[in-house]
């Protein structure tokens, strides 16, 4: 019985043969619908910040460098590739590509920056993108408004209205670091 089992165990690999892939010498394409590196289409983006305010890993940032130019920064170093941004984009400007070989020495290789030209509405003073119709309505719906000439800040989370507290918080935002002094009073 025991010997018979050993013979069977030998039979399995001889039946299946070699299953190891020749990757990376022979590329293995990802299947359709794979959630790889997200790619932004700048012609479609209206700068609504829907992706930035719903990113679970908080890797998408927005910055208004002046009244008319909004910068979108995607930092892939913390990205979890959940594809939430692509789901929520009202203009379908984000697609999850099939690119998964993202290891690199330079962070810039996997960082994406977009400069978006925003117009100011003559009636309400808000910024909107002129290139795509009805963009103003969409901005209202998704709720992003921040237009100040002097402040050049990273907004981590957008809100329907400009909140001074939020601005204050983002003004001093830095990554957490270690305490300088021991909380036990011991240096």
């Amino acid at each position: 019985m025991w010997l018979w089992n050993k013979i069977k165990q030998l039979a399995i690999p001889s039946r299946t043969g070699v299953v190891t892939l020749r990757y990376p010498y022979k590329p293995r394409p990802a299947p359709a619908g794979f959630r790889g590196q997200p790619v932004w289409d700048h012609t479609k983006c209206i700068g609504c910040a829907g992706c930035a305010s719903n990113c679970p890993a908080r890797t998408i940032f927005l910055r208004d460098i002046c009244q008319e130019i909004r910068i979108l920064l995607y930092d892939s170093s913390r990205c979890t590739y959940c594809g939430r941004c692509a789901d929520l984009c009202p203009e379908k400007a984000i697609t999850m590509s099939e690119n998964f070989e993202l290891a690199t020495d330079h962070r810039q290789d996997i960082t994406e920056t977009m400069e978006l030209f925003m117009m100011t509405c003559q009636r309400c003073g808000r910024c909107f993108d002129l290139e795509i119709k009805n963009a103003l309505d969409k901005l209202q719906m998704l709720g992003y408004r921040y237009d100040s000439l002097e402040a050049r800040k990273v907004i981590r989370q957008s809100t329907p209205e400009l909140e001074p507290e939020l601005l204050e918080k983002t003004a001093t935002y830095r990554r957490p670091e270690k305490l300088e002094k021991s909380p036990c009073g011991k240096d």
Binding site: N5, Q9, V19, F34, N54, T80, E177, L179, C184
Partner: protein
């Protein structure tokens, strides 16, 4: 009269003035508020009525009165009822009576809140540090609201975990924190007399990441499923489904039936890959690498299937509150059926080739034995419990998602050893395949075209409790959600299946040979990151002093302004 009403009346009669309120949003859930004096009495009443202890949840209450709250949850498996009792105390007097003398399985739950919330448990037999690192300063309790989520006290030198006294005549052999037979950081100090194990002390929680704190301070409802999925590298879908179910239960959302079936399919695909992975690891741990290679070869097909269904091999990202994100259409269903047919054939061939191999029998039979009574006492769950004759399975006992509509067998073995868990897991592979086939049939025949997720129109009301269980591959996982303001839960507690199972490991190891240590620990399929979840660090500072509340507030403010 239903079992729920019976229990409610019983508790009302017994507790009289100590009974405060009861609420029950769903048919199979009961949430009771009691005075803290009656905590032990209520727990004992419930245990006498046939309950199984699940977990304790501690939190600092903002709604429903301020103070510190402790929730204990119990499962009535025969009546598919989950009961949670909650007691509140003030911050000046953070003391509860301990349940551990009567319910040993409550030991860790209570020790966790001694560390994280600064609670005291009267009569706790072993109130040793559990979660926090040894050099975490005394008097800072991470789950308190005044402590920021990113607080990082400096590391202290020369502090180490102090082991309990070893039994006389035995020597200590340390396993871990990093050891070839452990796949994640955990420390076992094994007391041996010759080759025999005479005891064991566990020091874990080294990968505690503070996820629960993060969820209560930074994340929003629909971001948490993606973080929940990353609690565990193996049963990610279990945690995201479980969290979503708890929120849906708390807010009274009813998700589309199609979404429930898709969730069921994903959970079962996860079980397939997890069981095959365990089988491989178990083979590897007993030095039988043929099993390891072949089981993982079969598992790879499941991984590729998941990749084409969801867009990723492991972190499926399928679940959001209110439904799922991706559909399983007819072409995908065909792909699933084709893969499952191959996998079933391969598993059968592998099973036939190894099931009568003497080397497996000799290494697993009678190893890690635990009697049925002991298993019940430790509240074991999952295949580890089912191998010890406990007929419990959350899929059948507390049906969730679409499990009420599918037929399957709960595999139970009574050998009480590692061999039993192996048999249970192999048989469960076939049951999982059966369940997926049934789900696909129902999806194709009558649920075509229905929506995948509901739109959530109103904000989720604050102060509601939700409790959900999901049978993970390793056993029952429990999530508790207390909804809060600011579009995020006030408290979200995760209890992974390894949490109760690991507590029983010292008992399983007793009087076994040291060489069997890897397979006994491996037999519960320990998931350390699931168990540890929430994060901070464990070295006891010799000269630590307790900060006053004012000092702590000052410290927190400094931290906040700095970050």
């Amino acid at each position: 009269m239903s079992r729920k009403d019976e229990l409610l009346n019983l508790l009302k009669d017994e507790l009289k003035g100590n009974f405060l309120a009861a609420s029950s949003l769903e048919e199979n859930r009961l949430f009771i508020d009691i005075k803290k004096e009656a905590l032990v009495e209520t727990a004992n009443q419930l245990m006498r009525a046939g309950a199984r202890y699940q977990m304790g949840v501690g939190y600092e209450a903002r709604k429903n009165g301020r103070g510190l709250a402790m929730v204990h949850t119990f499962a009535f498996d025969a009546d598919s009822l989950l009961v949670a009792i909650r007691a509140l105390t003030t911050e000046d007097e953070p003391e509860f009576d301990s349940l551990t003398p009567f319910i040993p399985g409550a030991g860790w739950s209570e020790r966790e809140y001694i560390d994280l919330l600064g609670l005291h448990f009267k009569n706790h037999p072993h109130p040793k540090r559990l979660v926090l690192s040894d050099d975490w300063p005394e008097g800072i309790y991470p789950l308190r609201q005044e402590v920021p989520y990113d607080l990082m006290p400096p590391a202290a030198e020369e502090v180490a975990f102090r082991l309990d006294e070893a039994p006389p005549g035995s020597s200590i052999i340390p396993f871990g924190p990093f050891h070839a037979c452990l796949h994640e950081p955990a420390h076992f100090a094994v007391y041996v007399d010759g080759e025999e194990i005479k005891g064991c002390e566990y020091r874990g929680f080294m990968v505690h990441r503070g996820i629960e704190k993060l969820a209560a301070t930074e994340l929003t409802y629909n971001e948490i499923p993606f973080v929940a999925e990353r609690i565990c590298g193996i049963c990610g879908s279990v945690h995201s489904v479980n969290y979503a179910q708890a929120v849906e239960a708390a807010s009274g959302l009813k998700i589309p039936r199609r979404a429930e079936f898709i969730r069921t399919i994903m959970l079962e695909i996860e079980r397939l890959h997890s069981h095959l992975m365990w089988l491989g690891v178990a083979g590897h741990l007993i030095g039988f690498d043929t099993v390891f290679m072949q089981a993982w070869r079969i598992r790879e097909k499941i991984m590729w299937l998941a990749e084409s269904l969801t867009g990723n091999r492991k972190t499926y990202g399928m679940v959001i509150i209110g439904g799922v994100r991706r559909d399983i259409d007819l072409t995908k269903a065909e792909l699933i059926k084709k893969t499952l047919a191959e996998v079933e054939k391969d598993v059968q061939a592998l099973e036939k080739a190894i099931i009568k191999d003497k080397s497996i029998h000799r290494r697993t039979k009678g190893v890690g034995y635990l009697s049925r009574e002991k298993a019940k006492e430790w509240n074991l769950v999952g295949p580890v419990a089912r191998a010890r004759g406990l007929d419990i399975d959350a899929r059948r006992d507390h049906p969730y998602a679409a499990y009420d509509e599918v037929k399957f067998e709960v595999v139970v073995a009574d050998s009480g050893d590692v061999w039993g868990t192996l048999v249970v897991r192999i048989k469960e592979i076939y049951e999982a395949i059966r369940i997926i086939h049934q789900c696909l049939e129902k999806l194709a025949s009558r649920l075509q075209g229905s929506p995948l997720a509901i739109e959530i129109e109103d904000p989720i009301p604050a102060g509601q409790q939700g409790l959900s269980v999901v049978e993970a591959p390793r056993g029952e996982a429990v999530h508790y959600v207390l909804t809060g303001d600011d579009n995020r839960p006030e408290r979200w507690r995760v209890r992974a299946p390894t949490y109760p199972n690991l507590q029983a490991v010292p008992d399983m190891l007793l009087n076994n040979k040291l060489a069997d240590f890897p397979i006994i620990v491996g037999s519960i399929d320990p998931c350390i990151s699931c168990t540890d979840r929430v994060a901070v660090i464990d070295r006891r500072s010799a000269s630590g002093r307790i900060l006053s509340r004012q000092e702590l507030e000052k410290l927190s403010r400094e931290m906040r302004s700095k970050t």
